[in-house]
């Protein structure tokens, strides 16, 4: 095992331990409600960056995958009373199938056409769910949480821990991709797909793999949201805001390294949570808008690019 791997897994273990201890010791539930949302955005931003960052295929359909995850959980809860981990696993499977479908789109579409197709995918799935009365249809559905599992004393704390586990899983996968032949292949096809194909890079296989992994993680992040809200309606679950926020997080953080989307999600997610309970008016939308403009103009390669411009040596490291 390399030194960087040891450092990563130690950091991940410490992070999970800190989350677990906080869940067991803190009584105030607000940090868990707010923290859950930030962790959820970390998973979404990291998952998005597998396809959007590494492969350069900009997916505007994050909300389609997220919503599919939410409604998979709703269906499993209503039909079988399935436990949370089963909901997440099945949501990941559904997300990977959707990802496979999106991967097929890349056979014929690139650039803006691919992005538009992903928006269409979101609309198709949302319309389907809207007309699926079993899961509440357009009217929405209220859900009852099952009893909380030990050692947690509240369901939200348990969801917070589960989402932290998903963060570690998604970051580990993204980090592996970045450091392996997959990441190098995706980088090659991002720069020039035809040239990559000609030099023996299996572009189709790589794109399919990126789509499937990204889709699985995006949907898995959505599954616990059903129990977090204990309510689901298509307009909330398939809200375009998820796509826009996740895109902004990945761009603000930078997509050149797996840590970029993590930093972007922490920065933007925390800002959103803080603004929601401080400024709490139209001004918070303005502040986020200004932040985006400043990053696009001042740091087009995101926080990662900004750090690298100050410390040129970091660029050489993996």
């Amino acid at each position: 095992m390399r030194r960087s791997d040891i450092a990563f897994w130690t950091g991940a273990a410490l992070f999970l331990l800190a989350v677990l201890l906080a869940s067991l010791l803190l009584r105030n539930e607000y940090p868990f409600f707010a923290g859950y949302v930030i962790l959820q955005f970390i998973v979404l931003a990291v998952a998005w960056s597998i396809l959007g960052g590494a492969a350069g295929y900009v997916n505007f359909g994050t909300n389609a995958f997220f919503g599919a995850g939410v409604y998979t959980a709703v269906f499993l809860t209503k039909a079988f009373g399935a436990p949370l981990l089963v909901q997440i696993a099945v949501a990941a499977a559904v997300g990977s199938l959707l990802g496979f479908a999106v991967g097929l789109l890349t056979l014929r579409m690139q650039g803006i056409f691919f992005s538009i197709a992903t928006i269409a995918l979101a609309i198709i799935i949302e319309t389907t769910v809207m007309n699926w009365r079993y899961v509440g249809g357009a009217a929405g559905i209220q859900l009852q949480r099952p009893p909380v599992t030990a050692p947690f004393d509240s369901y939200v704390k348990m969801l917070f821990f589960v989402q932290a586990l998903l963060v570690v899983v998604s970051v580990a996968i993204t980090r592996y991709i970045q450091h392996s032949w997959i990441g190098r292949g995706l980088q090659a096809l991002k720069d020039d797909e035809l040239a990559a194909e000609c030099t023996g890079v299996p572009t189709l296989r790589l794109k399919m793999l990126a789509c499937v992994l990204s889709g699985a993680l995006l949907a898995a992040a959505g599954a616990p949201a059903a129990m977090y809200l204990q309510y689901a309606d298509p307009s909330s679950a398939f809200n375009l805001n998820y796509s826009v926020s996740v895109l902004a997080m990945a761009l603000i953080g930078g997509t050149a390294h797996w840590i970029g989307p993590v930093l972007g999600a922490i920065l933007l997610g925390s800002t959103q949570q803080v603004l929601a309970v401080t400024i709490s008016s139209e001004v918070n939308v303005l502040v986020l808008g200004i932040m985006l403009v400043l990053f696009v103009v001042g740091a087009p390669k995101g926080l990662i690019g900004l750090f690298r411009s100050f410390s040129p040596r970091t660029g050489a490291r993996k």
């Binding site: 607000y30 868990f32 809207m130 929405g140 309510y231 929601a276 309970v277 008016s281 139209e282």
Partner: protein, 414 residues
């Protein structure tokens, strides 16, 4: 006197002293809520909040509650269900508010119901629809005139049946509120032996309704029940104006959201004539109760500064009434204990500026006060005409009625 007695006496004296000293500068009673101030529900949310703020200023001018000032802790939920759980957790765990008001509308309210039930908190609802039907929270009091779930559809379809209607056409938006209403309406139509000859749901983004209206006309219904949202309500009425609905239609409307808002009403003008639609308050003689006139005088002035609906009939008086309900409960029980307040609210009839309110077991109003009113004599581009009575004649419920239905719809349009 032993040391323990002396110490106990000293503590009691100190506690008494503290109590009397703190009367003057006791902390305010804090009422927490989220309110849509951005997003699709913002227009309603801001107007509703102004109504609550007018009550807060009014009660504070009268010395507050239990001698303490009332303070509102309000956050923007961006009209989204995903924002409210964290906001209400903060209100409870960080801000430690004394009382909770729900946000305007069903979607932002639904996710907080389990939380408030789990924490044993009283929650004053703000125009949600049947949000407690599955949660069964015994400290939920919905401040909305809906009443029993089927009362809304029963009121409108009853008017149609009384006018000789036997067949119904239903047209609804594929969105939460409209779908909840139309589902109930289908059941009510069945119970009333009305035959549903047309039942169409349209996507929320639909902007052009002429083909749908033509298909509806082909079914030759006697009653047309529409559950729509503001942009589609306007588009449907424009399509009806161009194509017409035929002399067979005795009554048209029912649940069209948007026709309660000043901007939409002013824009549509004479196209509104003949439509029978729901509302929560109207400037008709039967709707003035103790304090209603004074409220609207204050609201009209403050609405201009706050840049919200200048008429404010739909939500603001209910925002004020929500404060009145809490004020009456706190004053009568001299307590902020959630269970005590809930018991009082459940067991008494409350006089407010929107009338007398009595709550049923499920926290909804015992009797519906959802008005079905017919637009009459409306002229184009004149907002002030809606301030006078006679422009929206109340047909239902019976106790608030101010006129009779003009039928058929085509005759009422002219």
């Amino acid at each position: 006197m032993d040391r323990r007695t002396l110490l106990g006496g000293a503590m009691a004296v100190a506690a008494l002293g503290m109590t009397s000293a703190s009367r003057a500068d006791e902390p305010p009673i804090r009422i927490g809520m989220s309110m849509p101030q951005t997003g699709g529900l913002a227009a309603g949310g801001k107007a509703s909040l102004l109504g609550i703020e007018i009550w807060r200023d009014d009660v504070n001018a009268r010395g507050g509650l239990l001698g303490r000032k009332v303070e509102l802790v309000v956050y923007d939920d961006k009209s989204s269900a995903s924002e409210t759980p964290a906001i209400y957790a903060k209100l409870l765990d960080v801000d430690k508010v004394d009382l909770l008001f729900a946000p305007y509308a069903t979607v932002p309210t639904a996710p907080i119901m389990p939380l408030v039930k789990q924490r044993g908190m009283l929650l004053m609802g703000n125009f949600s629809f049947q949000v407690n039907s599955k949660i069964h929270h015994d400290m939920w009091f919905n401040n909305a005139p809906w009443g029993p779930a089927d009362a809304w559809a029963r009121g409108f379809l009853g008017l149609g049946q009384k006018a000789g209607g036997k067949t119904v056409a239903m047209l609804s938006a594929d969105q939460e509120f409209a779908q909840n209403l139309i589902t109930t309406a289908r059941d009510v139509a069945k119970k009333m032996d009305l035959s549903v000859v047309f039942d169409q749901t349209y996507p929320p983004s639909t902007a052009e309704f002429s083909s749908i209206i033509r298909a509806l006309n082909a079914a030759k219904p006697d009653i047309v029940y529409v559950a729509s949202y503001p942009p589609d309500s306007a588009a449907i009425l424009r399509a009806v104006n161009e194509i017409g609905v035929g002399d067979n239609v005795k009554i048209f409307g029912g649940a069209m959201v948007g026709l309660q808002f000043a901007g939409v009403m002013e824009n549509l003008g004479s196209l509104l004539n003949g439509v029978v639609n729901y509302n929560s308050w109207l400037p008709e003689p039967s709707m003035y109760f103790d304090g209603t006139k004074a409220f609207f005088e204050t609201y009209s002035k403050r609405a201009v500064e706050a840049k919200v609906d200048p008429l404010g009939y739909y939500l603001p008086p209910y925002g004020f009434a929500m404060g009145q309900l809490i004020e009456q409960a706190v004053t009568a029980t001299k307590s902020l204990d959630q269970k005590t307040l809930a018991k009082y609210l459940r067991e008494h009839v409350h006089k407010t500026i929107v009338g007398s309110i009595e709550f049923a077991e499920d926290g909804e109003w015992k009797e519906t006060a959802t008005l079905e009113a017919q637009f009459r004599g409306v002229k184009d581009k004149n907002l002030d005409q809606f301030r006078s009575s006679g422009k929206q004649v109340i047909l239902f419920p019976e106790r608030l009625k101010t006129g009779e239905l003009i039928t058929p719809f085509e005759a009422a349009r002219n």
